[in-house]
């Protein structure tokens, strides 16, 4: 089926669901079904709304349909020496770019280059009325109207299906090198922050089992100078590449096990929280994965007290994933949801139980 025919079919399904007031569950490759509070409704499959619409490497922009597999996008970009700099995790070969953006999860490079929303330039959405609305565009700078193309990042589909995206792409770094240090978690948090304030081409950091690793990316003179400034042990290229891939794509054993896991998004300088368990730190301290038996209420309270948020991945059915929203934010988000999806068709309750 052509992507246009597929889009028409999706639209028909939306219209039919709207007529019957039946909820829809938007799906790309189905690799992130575990993400969100709940999944209700008939599956609205976007996988066939796929394909590259426009890619001109010298513009640093790619425009593509939402169902395009992430792997296909990355392969294409690599042939032109470019990449998605936010290094999104892939939870399987069927992962689609629409799902990547709706999930809003970025990888190891997040703390140095930004998250997904920093690379979204434009998006087209299908509304509950079956109309396609376009926001943002295909250019690097654009402040016409509210920036609704970025609002869909991490929305888990509650505003409606994304059908097309324009993303900013960047050149693949000329060289990468990874350094390793023996440090405690507390020391690593301080050092990561200290190093991040120096003019060094730091592109990723991780701490696990008393080993802190930092990746440097850039042209040789810059990477060499940074290695000389930081010291540490240089990891063999293959080992380094395998490590960052395993963290990025959640193949590292702590992340890979589908057992309850906390994702703690914290101010980067937060000292390790007084919680027992197994810990992996990323993003210069701003992201911490924790497997623990501690009381969930205590974990959430400690994260909140530090100015951050806790999300429970792979929890028991019925267990909340995200922290609750403050009332003022909930009121605005409820009205935003209604603005895009007045009938409440799309991904009901997936991002916020009440929406």
């Amino acid at each position: 089926m052509s992507p246009d025919a597929a889009l028409l079919q999706v639209r028909e399904q939306v219209r039919a669901a709207a007529a019957r007031d039946m909820p829809l569950c938007i799906r790309g490759g189905g690799t992130k079904d575990f993400l969100g509070e709940s999944r209700v409704g008939e599956v609205l499959d976007l996988a066939a709304v796929a394909g590259i619409v426009d890619y001109d490497p010298s513009e640093l922009v790619i425009t593509l349909r939402a169902g395009t597999p992430l792997a296909e996008v990355e392969t294409l970009l690599a042939t032109r020496g470019q990449c998605l700099a936010f290094e999104p995790p892939s939870f399987g070969p069927r992962s689609t770019i629409g799902g990547v953006v709706a999930a809003g999860l970025a990888g190891p490079r997040r703390a140095s280059v930004g998250g997904i929303r920093d690379f979204v330039l434009g998006a087209r959405l299908l509304t509950g009325d079956g109309e396609v609305l376009g926001f943002g565009g295909r250019v690097m700078k654009n402040v016409a109207g509210f920036d609704l193309s970025r609002l869909v990042c991490g929305s888990l589909g509650i505003l409606g299906p994304i059908v097309e995206l324009s993303l900013k792409v960047l050149p693949v770094p000329a060289l990468e090198r990874t350094l390793e240090f023996e440090l405690s978690a507390a020391e690593a948090v301080v050092e990561f922050n200290r190093w991040s304030r120096l003019p060094l081409p730091l592109s990723a950091s991780s701490w696990f089992a008393d080993r802190a690793r930092v990746r440097l990316s850039g042209v040789a003179p810059a990477v060499d100078a940074a290695c000389a400034a930081l010291g540490g042990r240089v990891l063999p290229v293959d080992e380094a590449g395998a490590w960052w891939d395993s963290v990025r794509h959640h193949r590292q054993p702590l992340l890979a096990a589908r057992e309850p896991l906390w994702r703690l998004s914290l101010p980067s300088t937060t000292a390790p929280l007084p919680l027992s368990g197994s810990l992996l730190i990323e993003w210069a301290g701003a992201l911490r994965w924790l497997r623990t038996d501690e009381d969930p209420a205590r974990v959430r309270a400690l994260a909140a007290a530090s100015g951050g948020a806790a999300a429970r991945w792979y929890g028991a059915p019925g267990e909340a994933m995200f922290d609750p929203l403050p009332p003022a934010a909930l009121a605005v988000q409820r009205r935003l949801k209604a603005a895009f999806d007045p009938r409440g068709l799309f991904n009901r309750g997936r991002l916020v139980a009440a929406l």
């Binding site: 809003g104 509650i158 605005v332």
Partner: protein
């Protein structure tokens, strides 16, 4: 010029509003006499003027909340204002409204050098943040040319950029959190010192929302390490097309320069007598390309950049040899707007963005429009990201010239939309581009903007009648354009 007298009804309204505001603000925080109000009648787009009912200048957050409370109760529109350097009439007052100046909320609340963040009030000037961060080797990256005057609150409202945003991003990419109040007086925190949180991410909607959604009272910005060195390559071209080709060639080899700016001959000629930047006045276009990083990295990159521009046909190439020379190279570019003001009684600054590959084509079209409207236009561009700043020169005192300049500008923006670009890259829609919004967005898209506005501001009192045109306004815009025969790009395929 003396402002024209108010209608009796409006005078009564002003008296009532002033009396109510006087209950919550000290007398030195309230302006209401015609003479006091005149400085607030416009922002940097002086062609649009409107005296407000009153100006409130609270010095703290409680004062901001109190003003919102009074205005909500009386149903009075509120227009937030920073330094008033905006170029799209975003801070243009409402005839029946209050201007809420945030200029006195000008404290840097906290600066954490280890975390690399600063918490600041909205009235802090952009440059002051970098000055405060400098002792720690840090700076705030977005550097609008107006940075000595404009406020961070205004930058957040416009999602402002600068010459370094190709590599370091716009305001959006450098702000972690924004705290503000809705017109209902509810405190709303978007973003945080953590990189993500639960629910929809409202930060990118609030940034660039031009004062329509929230009055921002605190901003958490990211501070970056100051690069060890920076140097600029200045390349001259005898053909604009070749200058554009070398921009594409630089990007194609995988270099993202810290800055990549172009000026045409008219722009160089305007700034040179005034800035003595050393620009090549015989060149049809010059490129300024900045490289930053460690000394070795910069040397390597400068070598590659120089080769690319020479291969693309540059007629002369100079590289800054000292920090003073680097700043001198930039001085002309950074002063392009004031320079336009020196060679012409008035100028109208446009701000469209296009896919980079269309640069030469748009320049050619602007040349034709100069003839058509009998007005000169000089051009500066953020060439790296395709953001154009054509400066249309005119004389507001010459009959019909402003109207011609306005039509000229509208034609340029229509062309940007037709070529797959946008009507504004960084200056905002404000009051100015409300007509061209009708061309860029469909009825459904504009309805979505209106719905988002009312999700934050159901009563519609915050900066009303800006950014989002009504259906009626769009119908009128369409009629005007057809009537004036100004649909020159109707044949182009729309993106």
């Amino acid at each position: 010029m003396e402002p024209s007298p108010l209608s009796p009804e409006r005078s009564r309204r002003r008296r009532d509003v002033l009396a109510a505001l006087a209950q919550v603000l000290p007398s030195d925080a309230l302006l209401g006499s015609p003479g006091e109000l005149v400085p607030y009648e416009c922002d940097g787009l002086s062609a649009l003027r409107q005296v407000p009912l009153a100006v409130a200048l609270p010095c703290d957050e409680a004062g901001v909340v109190a003003v919102l409370g009074v205005c909500r109760k009386l149903g009075v529109p509120v227009v937030a204002r920073g330094a008033g350097t905006g170029l799209s009439g975003g801070a243009l007052p409402h005839a029946d409204g209050v201007v809420l100046s945030l200029a006195r909320l000008n404290r840097i609340v906290a600066l954490d050098p280890l975390a690399g963040i600063a918490r600041v009030q909205p009235g802090v000037r952009n440059l002051s943040i970098s000055e405060a961060a400098a002792p720690h080797g840090l700076y705030y990256a977005p550097d609008p040319s107006s940075q000595i005057a404009c406020t961070i609150g205004g930058n957040v409202a416009e999602n402002s950029g600068g010459v370094h945003c190709l590599k370091y991003g716009l305001t959006l990419h450098n702000v972690l959190a924004v705290r503000g109040y809705t017109m209902d007086g509810e405190e709303l925190i978007c973003g945080g010192a953590a990189l993500d949180g639960p629910g929809l991410d409202l930060l990118p909607v609030v940034i660039g929302s031009e004062g329509l959604l929230l009055v921002v009272v605190e901003i958490t910005v990211r501070l970056l390490p100051r690069p060890a060195t920076a140097r600029v390559v200045m390349a001259s071209f005898d053909d604009v097309g070749r200058a554009c080709d070398s921009v594409a060639a630089i990007i194609a080899v995988g270099i993202i320069p810290a800055g990549l700016e172009m000026m045409d001959q008219g722009a160089s000629a305007a700034v040179e007598p005034f800035c003595h930047a050393g620009y090549d006045l015989s060149a049809a276009a010059i490129l300024l390309i900045e490289s930053d990083g460690t000394a070795a990295e910069v040397e390597d990159e400068i070598g590659r950049l120089s080769k690319i521009v020479r291969d693309a046909g540059a007629t002369a190439v100079a590289v800054s040899g000292s920090e003073a020379e680097r700043l001198r190279f930039w001085s002309g570019r950074k002063n392009a707007f004031p320079a336009a003001g020196r060679i012409s009684p008035d100028y109208y600054c446009m701000d469209g963005t296009i896919p980079r590959r269309q640069l030469a084509r748009v320049l050619g079209e602007i040349k034709r429009l100069e003839v058509r409207y009998g007005l000169r236009c000089i051009n500066v561009f953020h060439a790296g990201d395709g953001n154009l700043h054509p400066l249309i020169l005119f004389d507001a005192n010459a009959a019909g010239e402003w109207q011609r300049a306005e039509c000229f500008g509208t034609d340029i923006l229509e062309l940007c939309v037709a070529l797959g670009g946008t009507i504004t890259g960084e200056h905002g829609v404000g009051a100015e581009k409300i007509g061209t919004m009708c061309s860029q967005f469909s009825d459904g898209e504009r309805a979505a903007f209106a719905a988002v506005k009312s999700a934050f501001d159901p009563a519609g009192l915050l900066n009303p009648a800006k950014v989002i045109p009504t259906l009626h306004r769009c119908a009128e815009y369409g009629r005007q354009r057809v009537h004036a025969g100004q649909l020159p790009f109707a044949g182009l395929e729309r993106f």
